[in-house]
């Protein structure tokens, strides 16, 4: 560093191109041009990624903190909430605003949307809003009495707490719900009843099962990859096809094949009964439970473990192990001290790949997992497709994404992402 500084300090004639331009500037311009051209080449991919990946995912994640269903359809009540402190008793002005908003929302046919939004927080309130919408024309001052006469539930403090929470389009409430918690009447955050807690236990189950599947894949995949890398070409090609053929087969086909094999009147159980290993009454339940999820997912994700391992093992020269043996190492020591350390980049890549894919799996557990084999993604699918609570689905998805990014960061810190080898 110091040397360079000294040499820079020495006066010397500026180098220039033939047309008198300083060489440095000419070089910068040429490399800029090359960079621009390179950018043009990646531009289609960049656009594609932005349009099909970044924007939709960003929009979806935005929903987890943004839900205008209440605030945009109930402007007057929202304004009243904005003007008053949390915990304020609803007064006549609040009920007048409510009556006006309900009438307007009923007219615009958005009252059901409003009811659905509040129903996420206080169950059974959707019909409160829709029936109020049908009767809204008949409401007259004093509105407090008129609204309460319609249904006493309108005086419920929990309902007003929920409406206050929803009166701002931007809300953390969906994350609160995704962590099995709720906003209490005093504005504090509390855990939901034990019989409603689901996402946190399911999250840990998903992490545990994914880790287990990655571990099983490693144990099964390592010897296969080693065989692939060391067998003579004519055998290893055949073996490679056996690995790749299922890899190319549709996920659904493979999952349903497992169903045929594993069900209680299926091939495996029939074979076990026929050979007398188990009796006809004690057929093993291998499907519609966690066992089904683990078996089917391990098989489906196995190629993602074998391929990176294989590509790393192929580059390991057999001479290293031979050298270790000739220097007196036992075969176990040679494997442990010489061979295994060289496969670490492949092991890391395989585990990371399998784990991340497993964390997001949902079709296979949905088909063969029964009740105990469901994963976190099945809940995301449930809220996307069935309950239609997309904001909660987005919050759950964001949590899962966050967890995976955290693990990725940890991996980078512990092993180093540069060491990973995908093939």
């Amino acid at each position: 560093m110091a040397q360079i500084a000294i040499s820079d300090a020495e006066p010397r004639a500026e180098l220039a191109t033939a047309d008198g331009m300083p060489l440095k500037a000419a070089l910068a311009r040429a490399s800029r041009r090359a960079q621009r051209r390179a950018l043009f080449l990646v531009l289609p991919l960049l656009l594609f990624v932005v349009v099909t990946f970044v924007i939709p995912i960003g929009q979806m994640l935005y929903r987890s903190v943004h839900n205008p269903a209440f605030s945009s359809n109930m402007p007057n009540v929202s304004a009243w909430f904005a003007a008053t402190e949390p915990g304020t008793e609803p007064d006549e002005a609040a009920f007048a605003a409510l009556a006006a908003d309900v009438a307007a929302a009923a007219e615009a046919k958005t009252i059901g949307v409003v009811g659905t939004r509040i129903n996420y927080e206080v169950s059974g309130t959707r019909s409160l809003f829709t029936s109020a919408g049908r009767a809204a024309d008949e409401l007259a001052p004093p509105f407090r009495d008129a609204v309460l006469a319609m249904d006493e539930q309108w005086g419920d403090p929990a309902l007003w707490t929920a409406m206050r929470g929803a009166s701002s389009a931007h809300t953390p409430n969906f994350y609160v719900a995704a962590l099995d918690r709720q906003v209490g009447p005093d504005g504090g955050i509390e855990r939901v009843d034990a019989n409603q807690r689901i996402y946190v236990p399911l999250f840990w189950r998903t992490m545990f099962l994914s880790a287990l599947i990655a571990a099983v894949c490693l144990v099964i995949g390592f010897p296969v990859a080693h065989l692939l890398a060391t067998l003579p070409l004519k055998y290893s090609n055949l073996l490679m096809i056996l690995v790749l053929l299922p890899f190319w087969t549709s996920l659904l086909v493979r999952t349903t094949s497992w169903m045929v094999l594993l069900q209680s009147e299926g091939v495996v159980n029939n074979a076990l009964v026929a050979t007398g290993v188990i009796s006809d009454e004690n057929r093993i339940q291998m499907m519609y439970n966690q066992a089904g999820t683990i078996i089917a997912m391990t098989h489906i994700l196995l190629p993602f473990m074998i391929l990176p391992l294989y590509s790393v093992m192929r580059t390991i020269k057999p001479t290293y192990v031979r050298a270790a043996r000739s220097l007196g190492a036992s075969s176990w020591t040679a494997f442990r001290r010489v061979y295994l350390p060289q496969t670490v980049p492949g092991i890391g890549a395989g585990i990371l790949l399998v784990f991340i894919l497993a964390v997001g799996y949902y079709i296979t557990p949905a088909l063969v997992g029964g009740a105990s084999g469901q994963l976190f993604s099945n809940m995301i699918a449930f809220h996307m497709q069935k309950s239609l609570n997309w904001s909660l689905a987005a919050a759950l998805a964001a949590l899962l994404l966050g967890a995976v990014l955290l693990l990725y960061w940890l991996y980078d810190r512990l092993i180093g992402i540069d060491n990973m080898k995908l093939g």
């Binding site: 409603q196 029964g370 497709q385």
Partner: protein, 362 residues
Amino acid sequence: MTLRLLLASTAAAAVALGAARASANEVTVMSWGGAYTQSQVEAYHKPFAAETGIKVISVDADNPATPIKAMVEAGNVTIDVADLEYADAIRLCDEGLLEEIDHSVLPPAPDGTPATEDFLPGALTDCAVTSIVFSTIYAYDTTKFPENPPTTIADFFDIEKFPGKRALRKGAKANLELALMADGVPNEEVYGVLETEEGVDRAFAVLERIKDDVIWWEAGAQPPQLLADGEVVMTTAYNGRIFGAQVGEGKPFQIVWDGQIYEYDLFAIPKGAPNLENAIEFIKFSTDTQRLADQAKWIAYGPGRKSSAALVGLYQDGKTDMAPHMPTSPENLRTALASSYEFWVARDTELNERFNAWLAAG
């Protein structure tokens, strides 16, 4: 080379576009798949296409209500008619996701009774028109219980007396009602009990008794499959599916009508349907007296019009009288429960969440 390829692909695209425009005289109907869709194809789609020249495209879903919100919100509605359960039809309508249907355009009964009076009570809603009455029943494999077969809803939850795996629909709806009826709650009090916290606890406690022996199904075609595979010895199911397997395919299944829960199934039009007019024509055509009666020829679901009942005849095999297989036949209605859409529209979010939590705690 590139130019020629470009020209060829442009020409191909133009032809494809032209073809798409030419075949726009169509209507896409989304239903529940399997034997049920098949019955609709036979009873509605084929005669409708023959009479109007409008092509009917049939697509299936586990529950056609679920894709509608995604389609409407994305502004990409690809279906014109959806076959919905009552609670979903009300909910989607309230949320502005369905087109309203003017009841006065529906054809009157043959004797001139206007449609609004001819349909069963509550069978016409702002956005939907009932086609059939279906029922959630349970059925068992007769080869598994040669003597002393199960006869009551309580037997379904009695794992000691009737050992073996069961299958239930994955969701709170119907299961909670069945559990309470099995626990001795009189039918007329079921929804009253379910309104209370203790009532819900009680229902889950009954489900808990068989939880370890339950396989959960999602699509209506699964229960007969699970029974046929020997995966379960008894299962809840939609009655028409079991009838199809039992009478249509000769499977050794038997329906237990005790504690059946019946409800309407309706046609609705998603907001922004691409072929709105054809969709309305399709619904008018399919829900007239004769068509609704015709559907019973293909599957054991009751027609939604009073005037259709008298026209219900034999099954497609030409010898099975359909009347005793209908959810609405007096014999089958004796201990039946009418599903309460008011209850499920209001409570399904909470109860399904609790159901999911209960399931995951397994």
